[in-house]
Assembly symmetry: C2
Homo-oligomer: 482 residues x 2
């Protein structure tokens, strides 16, 4: 393990992260909300810690291997989330515990959007801005992780995308090309954010709310500046704008990249995952609308808009709400929570297991049936025109099974902690899928849980965000051997 | 498809099945309970139907292929379960609906043990005996299915056992050797039943109860002649005897076969699945005892006995109860229900996904982690000393994913039917894992559900019993093509 180089990189990341404390400080100055000092303190703390880590190792530039990659990715998220918790602890307007601060910060950076804070409408603008910005930064990190790094690490079948990545990539090494790819992706992400903020503003949000919600929308994060979430605005136009941008942000950013470069929409239309993603959303919206109309919960237009909004919001794992969907007919909340297990596309800011994996599982399931009937037949699994390597399929199976097993284990821990079944089930689902709101006691807010539960759920968020295996390998003796 | 031969076989099976209506008729005569005519009528109905099917095709003896095998297995269970429902409809002491009768019969023959009948203690002996006998016959069928037929069909990785089966087997053909294997297995099963009945009788059960419960114990069925199940006897000795025989019946019968033949216990000790099975039971018992002691639900001896009894009963998917375990601290019922997903060993009378598959999933999960760290390494999956074919591992993944997906779909149907989450979850789990009792509204009895729910759950029982794929292939156009 190249510890010196890893520490050097971590130092750099922390110094860069420290700069992100300045915008909330500026917001505090603009609104004169008196919350600026928490951010200035955290800025200094992160900068100095980063410098202390960086300086002694500034000449360490060893070539990084796969193993180092795992460690860097995990440290990136855990260290930044930990420092990200500091403003919540320092802010005088927030009487939160350490567990609360850690939970909120992890929830922000992993774009989960579960919150332990209530009374959002009365909080200083700087704190609100900071929470939204955490999600936006998290979203950026995820895109780079998912498009450029996970394929290299080969997590859960994502080596599938190795060939498709923009720019040449050498196997087994984390090359500097990542920087180039990352830059292009960030421009797309930034453009999307600006478009989203403008649309919100035109639809009637204040400038602050428009920017704040654009951050958490393109990040598929789900944090809001109001306790009532998007429901606060009580506007079908805003709900449809939100749904549109969540939908766009739930597409593989590599597709956006190619589309922008070639100025056509063909890359989407011929992508099997995009087709699957679109189909799944349509099915969920159809089910949702039918059930709402059958139970006569809303008039037709409202039922349709609420269905589109909530289906996209939960299925892409954004987790925004405009109505108390947890109290809809029992089928719907459970259906939507299950849809969040599928989640958005790989290489997007969304969570869940990802559409591409579900697609591969389905195709492999069909192959197994064909094999039962013709045991000596040879059947290839195809994605579009390309046939998929068996190794990729195996990795996807492994991902699915591990996901389910870890889900069950975490749920049992929460049950042992005294939660009821529905709360435990939905809390783990909402955190592991980086969704946010659950059902039962965590339908709106996670503040009522014990500290243990908050730490377990923070871990679940990270587990989901890092596609399980990136984090899991670090818990095996095999990883640390030699 | 060799339809003529399939119909001939079905006719024979039905004629054999008709004979099983005579013992309950004899029981009725002995106890003079007035219930005999239902069984005599069903006997005649089955015999004549069987004859009508058999006679025109009596000369059809075409060689059967894999495809025919699937159809025969599914028809075997559905047709016999349907005819098995007739006595419940005809019995005057049981005012049950058609859905109830079908549910009870499927539950019996699949050894699920979920019941829609209450007031068992007041029913005629003949009906009680008939229910127990259904489970015992179902258990017989399962052992032959699991040890001799599924490995040939290659369901969910069970081709793993093809080489280990007693006697030479030709690939791709259902050879007459099945008959020989079946006979040997049945002797073991019969011996086990007699030993179990004797033990129960010595421990204080009446002769009738001892025989009746021995039937449902070795079948891992869970039907009882009392509403209070094993709890009726209020005896630690009986609970331990029951646990012991459930444990034995949850072992692969191929191991019993080899052990009896060689008169040593070595086959068990060197079998990886047996070790896994034993280890899982120990872990569950340990968790269960600790939680019961922590919450001070019982004094030490009772806590230990209740833990052993319930852990073995639920984890092997027998589903007997001696206490109202659904009201224990929330963690335990959920933990036990999850344990029933693992279930007993392949080739036993137990349900669930089977220990061998969970073992293979775990090993493959570990391999995926090793592959992440060393992408170019070659890692074999070993069971004992033999390495496992990748094809088998893929089939096991397919089995697991399909199991989970079908579970979710069936649960959504029950939610749409208006059940609450816990009832829907546990009812599908209890039926698909062939466990029996659930939680919530189905903790004791399924009679309160709608007819739709009863049919869906009957389907779930069959799905679980036929290891998903045997039934699922019949729903693909691919199976019926050409
Ligand atoms: K989210
Ligand atoms: K059972």
């Amino acid at each position: 393990m190249q510890y010196a180089t890893i520490i050097r990189i971590l130092g750099i990341l922390l110094m860069i992260f420290s700069i992100t404390m300045l915008p909330p400080a500026i917001v505090s100055a603009i609104y004169e909300d008196g919350g600026g000092s928490a951010f200035i303190s955290t800025f200094l703390l992160s900068l100095i810690t980063g410098l202390v880590l960086f300086w002694p190792k500034r000449k360490a530039k060893a070539e990084l291997k796969i193993r180092d990659g795992f460690l860097i990715v995990v440290l990136f998220w855990t260290v930044l989330s930990t420092f990200g918790a500091v403003p919540f602890i320092l802010a005088q307007s927030l009487p939160v515990s350490l567990a609360d601060a850690v939970f909120e910060s992890f929830s922000g950076l992993t774009t989960t959007g579960a919150t332990v804070i209530s009374g959002l409408d009365d909080l200083p603008h700087s704190i609100l801005f900071y929470r939204q910005q955490l999600q936006w930064l998290g979203g950026m990190g995820i895109i780079v992780l998912a498009v450029a790094i996970l394929p290299l690490l080969g997590i859960g079948g994502m080596q599938l995308y190795r060939a498709e990545m923009p720019g040449p990539m050498k196997d087994n090494k984390l090359t500097p090309r990542i920087a180039g790819t990352a830059k292009a992706l960030w421009y797309i992400y930034l453009g999307m954010t600006i478009a989203c903020a403008l649309a919100y503003w035109i639809a009637g949000m204040t400038t602050f709310d428009a920017i704040a919600h654009s951050f958490s929308t393109v990040a598929i994060g789900g944090f809001s500046t109001h306790d009532a979430s998007i429901g606060y605005f009580d506007s079908n136009a805003i709900e449809l704008i939100c749904a549109f941008f969540m939908f766009i942000a739930g597409i593989n950013f590599a597709l956006h990249f190619i589309s922008v470069r070639t100025l056509t929409i063909r890359p989407y239309l011929k992508d099997p995952e995009f087709k699957g993603y679109f189909a799944i959303l349509c099915i969920v919206i159809l089910c949702c609308t039918s059930v709402l109309l059958y139970y006569q919960e809303y008039p037709f237009t409202d039922a349709l808009v609420k269905s589109i909004f909530h289906s996209v919001s939960i299925a892409t794992t954004a987790g925004f709400a405009s109505a108390d969907f947890a109290t809809w007919p029992t089928l719907l909340p459970v259906l939507l929570i299950f849809a969040s297990f599928i989640g958005a596309s790989a290489g997007s800011t969304g969570g869940g297991m990802k559409v591409i994996r579900v697609l591969l599982l389905f195709k492999q399931g069909m192959r197994e049936i064909k094999r039962l009937i013709h045991p000596n037949g040879i059947f290839l699994i195809k994605l579009g025109k390309a046939s998929v390597n068996d190794r990729v399929v195996q990795a996807v199976w492994g991902f699915f099974a591990t996901y389910v097993v870890l889900f069950v284990l975490l749920m049992l821990i929460l049950l042992a902690d005294g939660l009821d079944q529905i709360t435990a089930f939905s809390a783990v689902a909402a955190c592991m899928n980086n969704l946010g709101p659950g059902l039962g006691d965590v339908a709106v807010n996670y503040s009522g849980l014990s500290d243990l539960a908050k730490y377990v759920l923070s871990f679940a968020m990270l587990l989901g965000r890092l596609e399980i295996f990136t984090l899991l390998v670090l818990f095996t003796p095999y990883f640390w051997r030699r």
